[in-house]
Symmetry: C2
Subunit: 240 residues, 2 copies
Amino acid sequence: MLSSLIFIISFSFIPAVLVFAADFSYSGITGPAFWGKFNETCLQGENQSPIDIPYDEFLKFTKPDYISFDDSHNVEIENKGHSIEISKNLSGKLKIKDDDYELLQFHFHTPSEHRVDGKYHDVEAHFVFTDKEGKYSVVGVFYDISDQPSEFFNPIIANIPHGEDKKTIEFIGLSSVLKDIDWLNKAYNYFGSLTTPPCTEGVIWWVAHSVQPIGKDQFFKLRDTTGFNSRYTQVRKGEK
Amino acid sequence: MLSSLIFIISFSFIPAVLVFAADFSYSGITGPAFWGKFNETCLQGENQSPIDIPYDEFLKFTKPDYISFDDSHNVEIENKGHSIEISKNLSGKLKIKDDDYELLQFHFHTPSEHRVDGKYHDVEAHFVFTDKEGKYSVVGVFYDISDQPSEFFNPIIANIPHGEDKKTIEFIGLSSVLKDIDWLNKAYNYFGSLTTPPCTEGVIWWVAHSVQPIGKDQFFKLRDTTGFNSRYTQVRKGEK
Protein backbone atom coordinates (compact mmCIF):
# COMPACT_ATOMS: atom_id res chain seq x y z
CA MET A 1 0.00 0.00 0.00
CA LEU A 2 2.74 2.41 1.03
CA SER A 3 4.95 1.42 -1.88
CA SER A 4 2.01 1.89 -4.25
CA LEU A 5 1.44 5.36 -2.84
CA ILE A 6 5.11 6.23 -3.22
CA PHE A 7 4.98 4.95 -6.80
CA ILE A 8 1.95 7.12 -7.58
CA ILE A 9 3.52 10.21 -6.04
CA SER A 10 6.83 9.62 -7.83
CA PHE A 11 5.15 8.96 -11.13
CA SER A 12 2.92 12.01 -10.88
CA PHE A 13 5.97 14.23 -10.49
CA ILE A 14 7.81 12.94 -13.55
CA PRO A 15 5.95 14.88 -16.27
CA ALA A 16 6.26 18.17 -14.37
CA VAL A 17 10.00 17.64 -13.91
CA LEU A 18 10.49 16.76 -17.56
CA VAL A 19 8.65 19.88 -18.73
CA PHE A 20 10.67 21.97 -16.29
CA ALA A 21 13.98 20.59 -17.50
CA ALA A 22 13.28 20.60 -21.21
CA ASP A 23 11.23 23.66 -22.05
CA PHE A 24 12.19 27.28 -21.82
CA SER A 25 9.45 29.87 -22.19
CA TYR A 26 8.90 33.65 -22.29
CA SER A 27 7.24 34.14 -18.88
CA GLY A 28 7.27 32.81 -15.32
CA ILE A 29 10.06 30.69 -13.85
CA THR A 30 11.12 29.31 -17.24
CA GLY A 31 11.17 32.83 -18.77
CA PRO A 32 14.27 34.69 -20.06
CA ALA A 33 15.39 35.87 -16.58
CA PHE A 34 15.76 32.18 -15.61
CA TRP A 35 17.37 30.72 -18.76
CA GLY A 36 20.60 30.30 -16.79
CA LYS A 37 19.16 27.00 -15.51
CA PHE A 38 18.94 25.66 -19.06
CA ASN A 39 22.48 26.75 -19.90
CA GLU A 40 24.70 28.97 -17.77
CA THR A 41 25.90 30.79 -20.92
CA CYS A 42 22.45 32.48 -21.01
CA LEU A 43 23.26 34.11 -17.67
CA GLN A 44 27.03 34.41 -17.70
CA GLY A 45 27.80 34.98 -21.38
CA GLU A 46 29.40 38.29 -22.25
CA ASN A 47 28.27 38.52 -25.87
CA GLN A 48 24.59 37.69 -25.59
CA SER A 49 21.87 38.57 -28.11
CA PRO A 50 19.59 40.36 -28.82
CA ILE A 51 20.88 43.88 -28.21
CA ASP A 52 19.55 47.41 -28.47
CA ILE A 53 21.70 48.77 -31.32
CA PRO A 54 22.67 52.47 -31.02
CA TYR A 55 21.49 54.23 -34.18
CA ASP A 56 24.90 55.66 -35.04
CA GLU A 57 26.40 52.14 -34.94
CA PHE A 58 23.46 50.78 -36.96
CA LEU A 59 24.51 53.07 -39.81
CA LYS A 60 27.94 51.45 -40.11
CA PHE A 61 27.34 48.86 -42.78
CA THR A 62 29.23 45.63 -43.27
CA LYS A 63 28.33 42.76 -45.57
CA PRO A 64 29.30 39.13 -45.95
CA ASP A 65 31.66 38.17 -48.77
CA TYR A 66 28.87 36.32 -50.55
CA ILE A 67 25.18 35.63 -49.94
CA SER A 68 22.41 33.91 -51.93
CA PHE A 69 18.82 32.86 -51.16
CA ASP A 70 17.15 30.60 -53.75
CA ASP A 71 13.44 29.91 -54.11
CA SER A 72 12.77 26.59 -52.41
CA HIS A 73 10.38 23.69 -52.90
CA ASN A 74 8.83 21.20 -50.47
CA VAL A 75 10.16 22.80 -47.30
CA GLU A 76 8.95 21.76 -43.86
CA ILE A 77 7.05 24.05 -41.46
CA GLU A 78 6.83 23.19 -37.77
CA ASN A 79 4.97 24.76 -34.84
CA LYS A 80 7.50 24.49 -32.01
CA GLY A 81 5.16 26.11 -29.50
CA HIS A 82 7.35 29.13 -28.91
CA SER A 83 8.16 29.61 -32.58
CA ILE A 84 7.21 28.76 -36.16
CA GLU A 85 10.21 27.23 -37.91
CA ILE A 86 10.79 26.50 -41.61
CA SER A 87 13.53 24.01 -42.50
CA LYS A 88 14.65 21.30 -44.95
CA ASN A 89 15.21 21.64 -48.70
CA LEU A 90 16.22 25.28 -48.20
CA SER A 91 18.82 26.73 -50.48
CA GLY A 92 20.76 29.65 -49.03
CA LYS A 93 24.49 30.33 -48.93
CA LEU A 94 26.67 32.75 -47.01
CA LYS A 95 30.43 33.20 -47.16
CA ILE A 96 32.51 35.00 -44.51
CA LYS A 97 36.18 35.15 -45.54
CA ASP A 98 36.97 31.51 -46.45
CA ASP A 99 34.13 30.06 -44.39
CA ASP A 100 31.05 28.67 -46.20
CA TYR A 101 27.69 28.62 -44.43
CA GLU A 102 24.42 26.94 -45.50
CA LEU A 103 20.87 28.03 -44.57
CA LEU A 104 19.62 25.56 -41.93
CA GLN A 105 16.25 27.06 -40.92
CA PHE A 106 14.39 30.32 -40.39
CA HIS A 107 11.81 31.36 -37.78
CA PHE A 108 10.01 34.42 -36.44
CA HIS A 109 9.92 36.50 -33.26
CA THR A 110 7.01 38.77 -32.22
CA PRO A 111 7.79 41.51 -31.36
CA SER A 112 11.31 41.97 -32.79
CA GLU A 113 14.23 40.91 -30.58
CA HIS A 114 16.78 43.49 -31.72
CA ARG A 115 15.92 47.14 -31.22
CA VAL A 116 17.50 50.26 -32.72
CA ASP A 117 17.82 53.16 -30.26
CA GLY A 118 15.06 51.56 -28.18
CA LYS A 119 12.65 51.17 -31.10
CA TYR A 120 11.25 47.76 -32.02
CA HIS A 121 9.36 46.28 -34.95
CA ASP A 122 6.36 43.94 -35.17
CA VAL A 123 8.28 40.86 -36.36
CA GLU A 124 11.91 39.77 -36.70
CA ALA A 125 12.77 36.84 -38.97
CA HIS A 126 15.98 34.93 -38.21
CA PHE A 127 17.64 33.12 -41.12
CA VAL A 128 20.01 30.70 -39.38
CA PHE A 129 23.14 29.52 -41.25
CA THR A 130 25.75 26.98 -40.12
CA ASP A 131 29.19 26.06 -41.42
CA LYS A 132 30.82 22.59 -41.47
CA GLU A 133 32.14 23.03 -37.92
CA GLY A 134 28.69 23.94 -36.55
CA LYS A 135 29.41 27.68 -36.20
CA TYR A 136 26.37 29.94 -36.61
CA SER A 137 25.68 33.07 -38.60
CA VAL A 138 22.20 34.64 -38.51
CA VAL A 139 20.54 37.20 -40.80
CA GLY A 140 17.85 39.22 -38.97
CA VAL A 141 15.08 40.96 -40.94
CA PHE A 142 12.51 43.36 -39.41
CA TYR A 143 8.86 43.47 -40.54
CA ASP A 144 6.18 46.06 -39.71
CA ILE A 145 2.44 45.83 -40.28
CA SER A 146 1.31 47.10 -43.68
CA ASP A 147 -1.98 47.51 -45.58
CA GLN A 148 -0.78 44.99 -48.16
CA PRO A 149 -0.14 41.31 -47.44
CA SER A 150 3.36 39.99 -48.09
CA GLU A 151 3.72 37.38 -50.85
CA PHE A 152 6.63 35.80 -49.01
CA PHE A 153 4.48 35.26 -45.90
CA ASN A 154 1.40 33.93 -47.78
CA PRO A 155 2.38 30.22 -47.93
CA ILE A 156 3.82 30.38 -44.40
CA ILE A 157 0.70 31.82 -42.76
CA ALA A 158 -1.56 29.48 -44.78
CA ASN A 159 0.35 26.43 -43.54
CA ILE A 160 0.96 27.16 -39.84
CA PRO A 161 0.36 23.83 -38.07
CA HIS A 162 -2.04 24.20 -35.13
CA GLY A 163 -0.60 21.23 -33.27
CA GLU A 164 2.64 19.32 -33.26
CA ASP A 165 2.19 17.98 -36.79
CA LYS A 166 4.58 19.23 -39.45
CA LYS A 167 3.38 20.45 -42.84
CA THR A 168 5.01 20.81 -46.24
CA ILE A 169 5.12 24.10 -48.14
CA GLU A 170 5.35 23.41 -51.88
CA PHE A 171 6.98 26.70 -52.85
CA ILE A 172 8.52 29.54 -50.90
CA GLY A 173 9.90 32.66 -52.63
CA LEU A 174 13.12 33.00 -50.65
CA SER A 175 14.96 34.88 -53.40
CA SER A 176 12.52 37.82 -52.97
CA VAL A 177 13.62 38.22 -49.33
CA LEU A 178 17.23 38.83 -50.29
CA LYS A 179 16.18 41.19 -53.08
CA ASP A 180 13.91 43.11 -50.66
CA ILE A 181 16.79 43.65 -48.22
CA ASP A 182 19.05 44.83 -51.06
CA TRP A 183 21.26 41.72 -50.99
CA LEU A 184 22.28 42.63 -47.43
CA ASN A 185 24.28 45.62 -48.68
CA LYS A 186 23.13 47.54 -45.61
CA ALA A 187 23.44 45.40 -42.50
CA TYR A 188 24.62 45.83 -38.92
CA ASN A 189 27.26 43.19 -38.15
CA TYR A 190 28.27 42.06 -34.65
CA PHE A 191 29.33 39.00 -32.67
CA GLY A 192 26.54 37.73 -30.43
CA SER A 193 24.68 34.56 -29.48
CA LEU A 194 21.63 32.45 -30.18
CA THR A 195 18.65 34.28 -28.60
CA THR A 196 17.20 31.07 -27.08
CA PRO A 197 18.78 28.44 -24.79
CA PRO A 198 21.52 27.20 -24.99
CA CYS A 199 22.39 30.85 -25.90
CA THR A 200 25.54 29.66 -27.71
CA GLU A 201 28.02 32.48 -28.37
CA GLY A 202 30.27 33.09 -31.37
CA VAL A 203 27.27 33.80 -33.63
CA ILE A 204 28.01 36.24 -36.46
CA TRP A 205 24.95 38.51 -36.74
CA TRP A 206 23.75 40.52 -39.73
CA VAL A 207 20.75 42.74 -38.90
CA ALA A 208 19.32 44.14 -42.14
CA HIS A 209 18.74 47.88 -42.19
CA SER A 210 15.64 47.77 -44.41
CA VAL A 211 12.26 47.13 -42.70
CA GLN A 212 9.88 44.96 -44.74
CA PRO A 213 6.05 44.90 -44.79
CA ILE A 214 3.78 42.15 -43.41
CA GLY A 215 -0.03 42.26 -43.80
CA LYS A 216 -2.05 43.01 -40.66
CA ASP A 217 -3.99 39.74 -40.80
CA GLN A 218 -0.79 37.79 -41.57
CA PHE A 219 0.82 39.37 -38.51
CA PHE A 220 -2.11 38.57 -36.21
CA LYS A 221 -2.15 34.90 -37.34
CA LEU A 222 1.58 34.60 -36.70
CA ARG A 223 1.42 36.38 -33.33
CA ASP A 224 -1.66 34.46 -32.20
CA THR A 225 0.22 31.21 -32.72
CA THR A 226 3.37 31.92 -30.72
CA GLY A 227 2.44 34.93 -28.57
CA PHE A 228 5.28 36.97 -27.07
CA ASN A 229 8.54 35.18 -28.01
CA SER A 230 11.16 37.89 -27.75
CA ARG A 231 14.07 37.77 -25.29
CA TYR A 232 14.74 41.12 -23.63
CA THR A 233 17.80 42.97 -24.93
CA GLN A 234 21.09 42.02 -23.28
CA VAL A 235 23.75 44.27 -21.81
CA ARG A 236 26.75 44.42 -24.09
CA LYS A 237 30.25 43.60 -22.85
CA GLY A 238 31.82 46.68 -21.32
CA GLU A 239 28.58 48.67 -21.41
CA LYS A 240 28.34 51.19 -18.55
CA MET B 1 47.04 73.28 -13.89
CA LEU B 2 46.45 70.06 -11.99
CA SER B 3 43.47 71.53 -10.13
CA SER B 4 42.01 72.72 -13.45
CA LEU B 5 42.39 69.23 -14.86
CA ILE B 6 40.71 67.71 -11.80
CA PHE B 7 37.91 70.24 -12.15
CA ILE B 8 37.39 69.34 -15.82
CA ILE B 9 37.39 65.62 -15.09
CA SER B 10 35.00 65.99 -12.14
CA PHE B 11 32.68 68.26 -14.05
CA SER B 12 32.58 66.01 -17.10
CA PHE B 13 31.42 63.10 -14.96
CA ILE B 14 28.50 64.91 -13.33
CA PRO B 15 25.95 64.72 -16.17
CA ALA B 16 26.56 60.98 -16.70
CA VAL B 17 26.13 60.28 -12.99
CA LEU B 18 22.95 62.33 -12.81
CA VAL B 19 21.41 60.52 -15.77
CA PHE B 20 22.48 57.18 -14.31
CA ALA B 21 20.91 57.87 -10.93
CA ALA B 22 17.70 59.46 -12.11
CA ASP B 23 16.55 57.67 -15.23
CA PHE B 24 15.40 54.11 -15.66
CA SER B 25 15.09 52.77 -19.19
CA TYR B 26 14.07 49.67 -21.13
CA SER B 27 17.50 48.44 -22.25
CA GLY B 28 21.12 48.26 -21.11
CA ILE B 29 22.28 48.74 -17.52
CA THR B 30 19.28 50.91 -16.62
CA GLY B 31 16.85 48.39 -18.14
CA PRO B 32 14.22 46.32 -16.26
CA ALA B 33 16.72 43.65 -15.09
CA PHE B 34 18.58 46.41 -13.20
CA TRP B 35 15.69 48.41 -11.73
CA GLY B 36 16.67 47.10 -8.28
CA LYS B 37 19.22 49.94 -8.14
CA PHE B 38 16.43 52.52 -8.43
CA ASN B 39 14.32 50.84 -5.75
CA GLU B 40 14.97 47.40 -4.23
CA THR B 41 11.21 46.63 -4.35
CA CYS B 42 11.62 46.22 -8.14
CA LEU B 43 13.97 43.30 -7.46
CA GLN B 44 12.76 41.91 -4.14
CA GLY B 45 8.99 42.58 -4.28
CA GLU B 46 6.75 39.51 -4.22
CA ASN B 47 3.73 41.02 -5.96
CA GLN B 48 5.30 42.72 -8.94
CA SER B 49 3.54 43.71 -12.16
CA PRO B 50 3.02 43.10 -15.02
CA ILE B 51 2.17 39.39 -15.09
CA ASP B 52 1.28 36.78 -17.69
CA ILE B 53 -2.34 36.03 -16.72
CA PRO B 54 -3.42 32.38 -17.19
CA TYR B 55 -6.48 32.38 -19.48
CA ASP B 56 -8.69 30.45 -17.02
CA GLU B 57 -7.99 33.06 -14.34
CA PHE B 58 -8.57 35.88 -16.83
CA LEU B 59 -12.15 34.62 -17.24
CA LYS B 60 -12.95 35.14 -13.53
CA PHE B 61 -14.45 38.60 -13.56
CA THR B 62 -14.48 41.07 -10.66
CA LYS B 63 -15.45 44.72 -10.83
CA PRO B 64 -15.02 47.78 -8.62
CA ASP B 65 -18.03 48.98 -6.57
CA TYR B 66 -18.27 52.09 -8.71
CA ILE B 67 -16.44 53.56 -11.72
CA SER B 68 -16.93 56.64 -13.90
CA PHE B 69 -14.87 58.33 -16.64
CA ASP B 70 -16.09 61.79 -17.73
CA ASP B 71 -15.14 63.63 -20.92
CA SER B 72 -12.41 66.09 -19.98
CA HIS B 73 -11.29 69.55 -21.15
CA ASN B 74 -7.90 71.27 -21.21
CA VAL B 75 -5.88 68.26 -20.06
CA GLU B 76 -2.09 68.22 -20.20
CA ILE B 77 -0.01 65.87 -22.39
CA GLU B 78 3.67 65.31 -21.64
CA ASN B 79 6.42 63.37 -23.43
CA LYS B 80 8.34 61.78 -20.56
CA GLY B 81 10.84 60.09 -22.88
CA HIS B 82 9.84 56.57 -21.92
CA SER B 83 6.10 57.31 -21.99
CA ILE B 84 3.36 59.69 -23.15
CA GLU B 85 1.35 60.81 -20.12
CA ILE B 86 -1.97 62.68 -19.93
CA SER B 87 -2.83 64.39 -16.64
CA LYS B 88 -4.60 67.39 -15.01
CA ASN B 89 -8.30 68.31 -15.27
CA LEU B 90 -9.17 64.64 -15.65
CA SER B 91 -12.45 63.46 -14.22
CA GLY B 92 -12.57 59.78 -13.33
CA LYS B 93 -13.75 58.04 -10.16
CA LEU B 94 -13.35 54.55 -8.77
CA LYS B 95 -14.71 53.08 -5.53
CA ILE B 96 -13.42 49.89 -3.88
CA LYS B 97 -15.46 49.06 -0.76
CA ASP B 98 -15.46 52.37 1.18
CA ASP B 99 -12.34 53.70 -0.52
CA ASP B 100 -12.69 56.51 -3.08
CA TYR B 101 -10.07 56.89 -5.83
CA GLU B 102 -9.60 59.73 -8.36
CA LEU B 103 -8.04 59.47 -11.85
CA LEU B 104 -4.54 61.01 -11.61
CA GLN B 105 -3.09 60.31 -15.07
CA PHE B 106 -3.02 57.80 -17.90
CA HIS B 107 -0.21 56.66 -20.20
CA PHE B 108 0.64 54.01 -22.78
CA HIS B 109 2.94 51.01 -23.12
CA THR B 110 4.06 49.49 -26.46
CA PRO B 111 3.80 46.54 -26.63
CA SER B 112 1.34 45.62 -23.84
CA GLU B 113 2.83 44.85 -20.42
CA HIS B 114 0.28 42.26 -19.26
CA ARG B 115 -0.09 39.12 -21.34
CA VAL B 116 -2.83 36.49 -21.35
CA ASP B 117 -1.55 32.93 -21.75
CA GLY B 118 1.63 34.37 -23.27
CA LYS B 119 -0.22 36.52 -25.83
CA TYR B 120 0.37 40.26 -25.96
CA HIS B 121 -1.32 43.23 -27.61
CA ASP B 122 0.04 46.24 -29.50
CA VAL B 123 -0.70 48.83 -26.79
CA GLU B 124 -1.73 48.86 -23.13
CA ALA B 125 -3.19 52.02 -21.60
CA HIS B 126 -2.86 52.46 -17.84
CA PHE B 127 -5.46 54.67 -16.13
CA VAL B 128 -3.84 55.42 -12.76
CA PHE B 129 -6.11 56.23 -9.78
CA THR B 130 -5.09 57.27 -6.24
CA ASP B 131 -7.01 57.55 -2.98
CA LYS B 132 -6.50 60.13 -0.20
CA GLU B 133 -3.78 58.00 1.41
CA GLY B 134 -1.83 57.71 -1.82
CA LYS B 135 -2.79 54.09 -2.54
CA TYR B 136 -2.96 53.17 -6.23
CA SER B 137 -5.49 51.35 -8.37
CA VAL B 138 -4.86 50.98 -12.12
CA VAL B 139 -7.21 50.09 -14.99
CA GLY B 140 -5.38 48.43 -17.90
CA VAL B 141 -6.87 48.47 -21.40
CA PHE B 142 -5.43 46.55 -24.39
CA TYR B 143 -5.44 47.96 -27.94
CA ASP B 144 -4.68 46.16 -31.21
CA ILE B 145 -4.03 47.68 -34.63
CA SER B 146 -7.18 48.19 -36.72
CA ASP B 147 -8.07 49.51 -40.18
CA GLN B 148 -10.04 52.35 -38.57
CA PRO B 149 -8.47 55.13 -36.47
CA SER B 150 -9.69 55.49 -32.88
CA GLU B 151 -11.54 58.73 -32.04
CA PHE B 152 -10.23 58.56 -28.49
CA PHE B 153 -6.62 58.49 -29.72
CA ASN B 154 -7.05 61.27 -32.33
CA PRO B 155 -6.36 64.30 -30.05
CA ILE B 156 -3.61 62.39 -28.21
CA ILE B 157 -1.65 61.44 -31.33
CA ALA B 158 -2.13 64.92 -32.84
CA ASN B 159 -0.65 66.56 -29.72
CA ILE B 160 2.32 64.34 -28.85
CA PRO B 161 5.08 66.77 -27.83
CA HIS B 162 8.35 66.04 -29.66
CA GLY B 163 10.49 67.52 -26.92
CA GLU B 164 10.12 68.22 -23.22
CA ASP B 165 7.44 70.87 -23.73
CA LYS B 166 3.94 70.07 -22.47
CA LYS B 167 0.85 70.63 -24.58
CA THR B 168 -2.83 71.13 -23.82
CA ILE B 169 -5.57 68.93 -25.29
CA GLU B 170 -8.84 70.88 -25.45
CA PHE B 171 -11.16 67.89 -25.35
CA ILE B 172 -10.67 64.20 -24.69
CA GLY B 173 -13.57 61.72 -24.92
CA LEU B 174 -12.78 59.70 -21.82
CA SER B 175 -16.38 58.53 -21.31
CA SER B 176 -16.16 56.53 -24.56
CA VAL B 177 -13.28 54.49 -23.11
CA LEU B 178 -15.37 53.24 -20.20
CA LYS B 179 -18.31 52.53 -22.53
CA ASP B 180 -16.01 50.63 -24.93
CA ILE B 181 -14.78 48.36 -22.11
CA ASP B 182 -18.39 47.73 -20.97
CA TRP B 183 -18.04 49.77 -17.76
CA LEU B 184 -15.38 47.34 -16.58
CA ASN B 185 -17.97 44.59 -16.10
CA LYS B 186 -15.41 42.07 -17.36
CA ALA B 187 -12.03 42.69 -15.75
CA TYR B 188 -9.25 40.60 -14.23
CA ASN B 189 -8.52 41.86 -10.70
CA TYR B 190 -5.30 41.23 -8.77
CA PHE B 191 -2.90 42.86 -6.30
CA GLY B 192 0.31 43.94 -7.98
CA SER B 193 2.65 46.91 -8.34
CA LEU B 194 3.53 49.93 -10.43
CA THR B 195 5.31 48.62 -13.57
CA THR B 196 8.06 51.28 -13.41
CA PRO B 197 10.46 52.27 -10.60
CA PRO B 198 9.82 52.63 -7.66
CA CYS B 199 7.68 49.49 -8.41
CA THR B 200 5.46 50.30 -5.40
CA GLU B 201 3.31 47.33 -4.33
CA GLY B 202 -0.26 47.26 -3.00
CA VAL B 203 -1.64 48.37 -6.37
CA ILE B 204 -5.16 47.09 -7.11
CA TRP B 205 -5.19 46.11 -10.78
CA TRP B 206 -8.16 45.82 -13.15
CA VAL B 207 -7.19 44.44 -16.58
CA ALA B 208 -10.15 44.88 -18.96
CA HIS B 209 -11.12 41.79 -20.92
CA SER B 210 -12.20 43.64 -24.05
CA VAL B 211 -9.48 44.55 -26.60
CA GLN B 212 -10.02 47.94 -28.29
CA PRO B 213 -8.92 49.15 -31.76
CA ILE B 214 -6.19 51.71 -32.56
CA GLY B 215 -5.48 52.89 -36.12
CA LYS B 216 -2.26 51.62 -37.72
CA ASP B 217 -0.85 55.12 -38.27
CA GLN B 218 -1.88 56.19 -34.74
CA PHE B 219 -0.04 53.17 -33.36
CA PHE B 220 3.14 53.86 -35.34
CA LYS B 221 3.22 57.51 -34.19
CA LEU B 222 2.79 56.44 -30.57
CA ARG B 223 5.39 53.65 -30.82
CA ASP B 224 7.88 55.81 -32.72
CA THR B 225 7.82 58.30 -29.86
CA THR B 226 8.50 55.99 -26.93
CA GLY B 227 9.84 52.81 -28.52
CA PHE B 228 9.79 49.62 -26.47
CA ASN B 229 8.51 50.60 -23.00
CA SER B 230 7.19 47.34 -21.60
CA ARG B 231 8.61 45.67 -18.48
CA TYR B 232 8.95 41.89 -18.85
CA THR B 233 6.32 39.85 -17.00
CA GLN B 234 7.14 39.09 -13.37
CA VAL B 235 7.06 35.77 -11.55
CA ARG B 236 4.04 35.62 -9.26
CA LYS B 237 4.42 34.84 -5.55
CA GLY B 238 4.46 31.09 -5.01
CA GLU B 239 4.72 30.33 -8.74
CA LYS B 240 6.61 27.10 -9.44
